[in-house]
């Protein structure tokens, strides 16, 4: 195994030009994902999680586009690829799993046809071998009686089974990277547990790198190795999952944890973060979180705002919480 991360995102900026000026749904985001590692990405609705994932796989909807930064797949820049080259790379090296399995499946083709088509396109095998691989892929994701179900259409499967088919489809070309955007949000708890266990197993056994976007802190805790917390298009905190969740350094992460009901805590009032995340067109100066932050000081209201690089590498905060919380960083 080499030291080169499977995915390396460097200072990524995605911009959307609008009549009222340029919005930055992804603002200077950097992270790596190594082989066999799951990076969890959390944050409230509109924080830029999907936009980051879509930028990586080259699926940004216009008018959003990458305006600076780089994306390296196993060391090779891919943010400059276009058209056919990008499409081929996406099918071969990257797999995608979205919240609604129906968006990734063609309702008019059988599950088997969709799988064999993908396999034939990306792996140099015969028609017969492709079909065998398709059956194997369905078995691997836990579709019972895969050989007899392979000629069914997507609508003949339940929601949980469809999501398994999507995972099989994302995996069948043996990609190095999987982007899973809220893959279990629409599913029931018991099915969610099955899908999360499946993702973890595949990641471990196949050494795939996974970017797992979810708003469920429980899923993050159980599945992720490291976690990135996004706020208003920026990374607020990035670190090993246990440390970030139990000893948050960014006040936003800490607020997020405290506002999540925990089975151990009973009827007490939940701590709430006042206000709401600002809209992109209306971001405050300095740290985007400062209007809601109980620790904010003058410096937090001034540009340039804190970033992971200019702070301690873990939290984009001038006054991070933790052991020596009075210690101002980067001053």
């Amino acid at each position: 195994m080499t030291d080169t991360p499977v995915l390396s995102v460097r200072n990524l900026v995605v911009e959307i030009p609008t009549r009222h000026g340029v919005l930055r749904p992804v603002d200077n985001v950097s992270y790596d994902i190594r082989a066999g590692e799951i990076l969890g990405v959390v944050g409230e609705s509109g924080a830029g999680k999907s936009m980051t994932g879509n930028a990586v796989v080259g699926l940004l909807d216009r008018p959003a586009r990458i305006t600076s930064g780089e994306i390296l797949l196993s060391g090779q820049p891919i943010h400059t690829l276009k058209g056919e080259a990008l499409r081929r790379l996406r099918g071969k090296k990257m797999g995608m799993i979205f919240q609604d399995p129906l968006t990734s499946l063609n309702p008019l083709l059988t599950v088997g046809d969709q799988l064999t088509e993908t396999i034939l396109e990306h792996l140099g095998v015969s028609q017969q071998q492709a079909r065998e691989r398709a059956v194997a892929a369905l078995e691997e994701v836990g579709i019972p009686a895969a050989r007899s179900r392979i000629d069914s259409y997507p609508h003949e499967f339940s929601g949980g089974m469809r999501q398994r088919v999507v995972i099989a489809l994302a995996l069948c070309a043996e990609p190095d990277l999987i982007i899973a955007d809220e893959p279990t949000t629409a599913l029931d708890v018991s099915v969610q547990a099955q899908i999360v266990a499946l993702l973890k197993r595949l990641c471990r056994e196949r050494g795939v790198a996974v970017m797992l976007v979810t708003h469920d802190m429980g899923v993050i805790a159980e599945a992720a190795d490291r976690v990135a917390v996004m706020y208003a298009g920026r990374l607020a905190e990035l670190g090993p999952v246990r440390e970030v969740l139990t000893e948050a350094r960014h006040p936003y992460t800490s607020g997020l944890m405290a506002s999540t009901p925990l089975a151990s805590q009973g009827h007490e009032r939940l701590r709430q973060i006042p206000g709401a995340m600002p809209r992109l067109g209306n971001l405050p100066d300095g740290c985007a979180f400062h209007p809601r932050c109980e620790f904010a000081q003058d410096r937090c209201r001034q540009n340039p705002g804190p970033t992971l690089d200019t702070c301690d590498g873990r939290a984009a905060c001038w006054f991070p919480l933790g052991a020596d919380r009075k210690q101002e960083v980067g001053a």
């Binding site: 429980g218 506002s259 925990l262």
Partner: protein, 321 residues
């Protein structure tokens, strides 16, 4: 303590057959879906009763029957001693209707985008010719918004703020009971905390009673006094909150608890539950959970278990003890 709501052997069957002609041509039988099957429970005044269960377990249907939006097929619901489905005294029905309100999951879909917030909130009272002067302003402040927001339109608010507006509207008629169907499922956790805290405050200030519907166990644990667990339209277990979480007796309840992701379970490796919820049109015989149940014995596939009282718990399982 008296029960404010009595749900008595409630059953609701939906006819989900194809159109008559297709049925004749394709020789299909009538398809009946039992969304709620023989469910009984009581809700005490000023308490929070939660219904949990996975998708399709009948939570919303029960909620709608309780507020009178859907009639039961069998059984009855009494609110303050009045059965909304059969009561003939219009004045009584009217009074109970005003006492019970419902809040839905999607704060985006449930507000008319063309109305001002003032009119949205006052509508339930205005419709009955009541006095709405200053009502919206007062309620907005009660739910933590500003009286000035009354002149705005729904699109000017965030998701959490819209759910506050929905709550304000539900409070307009001065109800005693609020049925909340997944009130925070569409909201981010930090916003969810604001709404849950507001609901707890209102319960204390106004002495409200909630029927709280959710699939999220941690939210239910936070809010509820008593919890009923549904599986395929059947109530399989009911217990006071701590009893249920400390000592779940039904194998399905245990499966749910084990499967729920936990924020303190780093890298947990558990065997996930097997199988999926069966088709509600052809539910399994006997105990509906028996095909997935690790304890099932022959009797389970034959005989539907009765609700039994064990200590503070009511449970429908042949083997529970």
């Amino acid at each position: 303590m008296s029960a404010l709501i009595k749900v008595d052997h409630l059953t609701r069957i939906f006819d989900v057959s194809k159109p008559w002609l297709n049925r004749v041509i394709e020789r299909l039988p009538k398809a009946l879906l039992t969304a709620v099957s023989d469910v009984s429970f009581e809700i005490e005044e000023n308490s929070v009763y939660a219904l949990v269960g996975e998708s399709g377990s009948g939570k919303s249907t029960i909620g709608k029957i309780v507020v009178g939006l859907v009639p039961p097929s069998k059984g009855a619901v009494e609110v303050e001693g009045v059965d909304l489905a059969t009561e003939t005294d219009a004045a009584k029905v009217e009074a109970v209707r005003a006492d019970i309100q419902m809040i839905f999951q999607d704060p985006y879909a449930s507000l008319n985008p063309r109305w001002r917030v003032r009119d949205i909130i006052a509508e339930p009272v205005a419709a009955k010719g009541g006095d709405t002067k200053g009502l919206a302003e007062r309620l907005l402040e009660q739910v933590g918004l500003s009286a000035k927001d009354a002149d705005k339109y729904p699109h000017e608010f965030s998701g959490g703020q819209r759910q506050r507006i929905c709550i304000a509207r539900a409070l307009a008629s001065g109800p005693k009971i609020i049925v909340c169907d997944e009130p925070t499922s569409a909201l981010d956790v930090s916003v969810q905390a604001q709404v849950l805290n507001l609901m707890s405050d209102l319960r204390e200030e106004l002495g409200l009673t909630y029927l709280f519907i959710s699939h999220d166990l941690t939210v239910v644990h936070h809010m509820a006094d008593k919890i009923g667990v549904l599986y395929l339209g059947r109530l399989v277990e009911e217990a006071p909150r701590d009893t249920l979480f400390d000592d779940p007796k039904h194998p399905y309840t245990r499966m749910l608890f084990d499967a729920a992701p936990r924020m303190d379970a780093f890298g947990r490796e558990v065997e996930p539950p097997k199988g999926e919820i069966p088709d509600a049109i052809n539910p399994p015989t006997g105990c509906a959970f028996h095909p997935r149940c690790p304890l099932a014995v022959e009797r389970c596939s034959r005989e539907r278990p009765e609700m039994r009282q064990i200590g503070q718990t009511r449970v429908a399982c042949h083997l529970a003890e």
